[in-house]
Symmetry: D2
């Protein structure tokens, strides 16, 4: 199945729709809380291999923080979102390592491609301390832990799978936990740059855009991996599918619809739409035109969130 | 009418579809030529006020050069496209001014917003000579003319309409011709970063995305204005409208369509789709995820094209 | 005389040394105050044509704010420096225009050359309001005034003297005051990125590095011009001259000097040193290797200082 | 001894001057050839531990290519310099590995600090092939070898010594040769951005500016390391020392010198000058004000040189 999204919460929704499941999917547990009028937190837990098989995400915890509008955001709103991120992130970290355990932060993505530059930009703003422990121990604060950070580049530029680069570094410097930051693909336009997913199961870079790279996880690196991702792109077939639904809904409201359309709306037409677009080279992956500003704001929010948690 | 495109060729097509016109629109003359398998040139001439009223573009010439794939383009292909641009541009320049007349090149747009940064980036690569005429006349070549260039910024950063900035500069340095470069909106995804429109009628910046700024034209500045534009963005309602057509076409091919859908396909559903998307904040304006690379290639092609023509 | 500095305070010192003047230069009035251990303010007033002739700076006020270390500066220290800048800037503005008079902020320099990029970068961070007055007057606050901002580029890129560009804009949009931001040359290494000069007499861009552009002042633009400048470069002959002095001083301290050297120290050897270096292409203009970080910090401090004052 | 330069040729010259050696230093062999009026090649070979002790550089080959003016350079001149680099580089590569052996290219330095950004920028322009061998073997050309590339960042940003990062990667992907690119410090202003040193002995990053990082060499990584370096910075004491010499020379020419000065000129006053400058915080490390343009040109030249050699 082609979920076309990296978000567990969206995969759950797609699976429920396609399989016409009204309640919880077996093997999945979800909860939801409202932090404020503009911040909602959704937690999806994949409990077992049944849940894993359903939404094609490994067993573990997936927290999605939905925020309204990253554009024209104030410093105060940034602080609030960073606080929510930090609160969820701390919980996951606490479950995996001790307070003094070393953490390696990894910024995935391509600095030279704006929608994919979030990871490398966050790395620039993370407070690293490992070299202070080594060379200036007198400046280490009591509650500090060793933090290091790296932005390994992308396969097209390095010729090396990110997982291979990280494997080498992890074996050599031996952190106890890895936190990975990446740009994701989402299924819905409204989540672009408005959602943060934090999970404790690692990441398969590029999965949401059908360009899978090697998994970065405890299985492959030997240490637990927390992944922080923000959707920045969506493909055109997904947009059309979403919008077609809204369009038919409007026709229904105006009593202009018909049985055929009503049925169309109940189906997931993604694959059919994609099949129609691909021959015309229409199935681009797109990003909002304000992506530069959005990336700047997301970089601030994620960096703050991480720096408050480590 | 909301054409949602800055391209005359697309406005002609929309007008013909909506009004069910099979032949030429009265007041409009079009021609088409194939330069190579990957370069097509379309010329649309608005002849009189009837044509002007139909496609809402002033009387004058609109040349659209369609190219295939700006991504992964070779240096040789760039040269060919630049040659085509230069060939059309020279024709328009020759009709308006003498070979030694001074030209001012203007790069519109926002350097800090990737999809809108084409204009300022082209300015960095244009061969200016006006200061050599003034301060180092011994280095002027026989066939040179005075070229100056400016990138005035955008209203949100300067607080000044671009037209006001240019009016002042034009009155003071008195060029005989202005060439404006801008990023445009297109109606179709396939033209994003694959089309160059050159016109001799000036430009209304932001017209294609419904954010009109003051007209930059002979009427407002007192000297003729050639506009070079490349579509870099498209709105989601336009995408959905386009894709809906392709989707119904596929259903028709598979004999799955019905009368209602067939009729839907013949109509322009843009406005209805937009009305469905706006309440959900879904009607974003988007750009391909490869926009950074596309802008680099377009900057090269347009700069070369201009430098060959002036 | 080749002062090789844009700072009035340094020109005063050079003139006093060369002419062996112990007290105040006729036509010049100076005062000094300590704001804190790390912020000193020097005021040089050129009173008449005698003072003007001495230091080759027009009649008017020159405030120099010396700060310690822009590198590794904290947000709190930035705030303090911005406050000092704002305090001096407000005084100069108040003397020239009324609280509601329109101001145009101009960022001189070249965005693509790091040591010369301060002006364009400050422009990105200035709070412009003129377009809000025009298009969204309901959002204007009671104490706001119309602020516009422009970064006109440099002669080598535009082919147009900055003064010509500004003349046109000023004639068209008619601000009551212009505030110009520019990178300067200094005579001493210790002032590089550690001094802010604010003057009410306009500016001759490039004067300090022997590459004079046309004056930007009330005389040429018709409205008063406040100039804010920070030294970012120094030439090698100036460095050598300064260091030679320190070196001889050290020899004197160690009783290793001689009459010849003592005399050398009392002279200004700048021209002789320059004459020795030029034939070898040694007389480069240089900037500290940390210039990128320094420019970021200076941009913050100057933008904050301006935004607090207007 | 504080050589204050990463260039073997300069260390040889300093050692000869200080020790008043007219001929070759024991344990060192040098030769020189003129490629063109603007390109000179100097080869310094450290033959044994005596040579090693003299200039504090490990046994091996050091080729310095001196070029005139990287500023305002033409494409044709760039090609010529790249050809010279490639010619020397190929010789060193051939001595160390077979034609099909895998190479890892490493760009040292800080992308966000212009004078230190050469390494990361070259990496963006190197033709990597390793991923094509792995995933698209049908596109591999007969003479290709596996090339990978990485830009590991700097200690202040990552908290990890570059050597530690590389050790991990090398152990994991097992290249047969490493080519490192770094910005260097030079002793003379005229070599800033006008010299390329290629050596087969690895590198100690930061050695020339007194900020030594861990050695990157066969000893530490287990595979041979070729280092390509270009001087981009120089410290002020070095400048003053150099200029003092030129200044005394001029005084001698004008018969204004004296015994004391003549003797001063014969000595290396670097340490004394440094001792005079340090207490005043005057001993900055500086770079030419045109560094942005120089880095662009050097990036082109080095990338071309490498791409022609691998």
């Amino acid at each position: 199945m082609d979920f076309r999204t990296d978000l567990a919460i969206e995969r759950r929704d797609v699976f429920r729709k396609i399989n016409n499941i009204k309640d919880e999917i077996p093997g999945i547990k979800s909860e939801e809380k409202e932090i404020s009028s503009s911040i909602h937190v959704y937690k999806v837990q994949v409990l077992n291999s049944e849940g894993e098989k359903a939404i094609e995400k490994p067993i573990g915890n997936y927290v999605t923080i939905d925020v309204k509008k990253m554009k024209n955001i104030t410093e105060e709103e940034k602080e609030k979102i960073a606080y929510s991120i930090s609160s969820e992130l701390k919980d996951l970290i606490k479950n995996l390592v001790s307070p003094k355990d070393e953490i390696l932060i990894v910024g995935l993505g391509n600095l030279y491609s704006t929608p994919d530059s979030l990871g490398p930009k966050v790395i620039q703003n993370v407070d690293v301390t490992r070299h202070i422990f080594k060379y200036l121990p007198q400046y280490v604060n009591e509650n500090d832990r060793e933090i290091s950070a790296i932005s390994p580049g992308v396969l097209g530029t390095t010729g090396i799978e990110t997982q291979e680069i990280l494997k080498g570094i992890v074996d050599n410097i031996k952190p106890k936990l890895i936190i990975v930051i990446d740009s994701l693909a989402s299924k819905s336009i409204e989540r672009i740059s408005s959602s943060v997913q934090i999970s404790d199961t690692g990441i398969i870079p590029g999965a949401g855009i059908g360009n899978k790279r090697r998994e970065i996880s405890k299985d492959t690196l030997g240490v637990p991996v927390i992944a922080i991702g923000i959707p920045t792109v969506v493909d055109v077939a997904t947009i059309t599918n979403d919008c077609l639904e809204l369009f038919i809904e409007k026709l229904q409201d105006e009593a202009k619809s018909n049985n055929y359309l009503n049925q169309l709306k109940e189906e997931n037409n993604y694959q059919d739409i994609k099949d129609a677009l691909v021959p015309k080279d229409f199935n681009l992956i797109v990003t909002p035109k304000e992506i530069d500003e959005l990336i700047i704001n997301m970089t601030d929010v994620i960096s703050m969130g991480i720096n408050k948690s480590i």
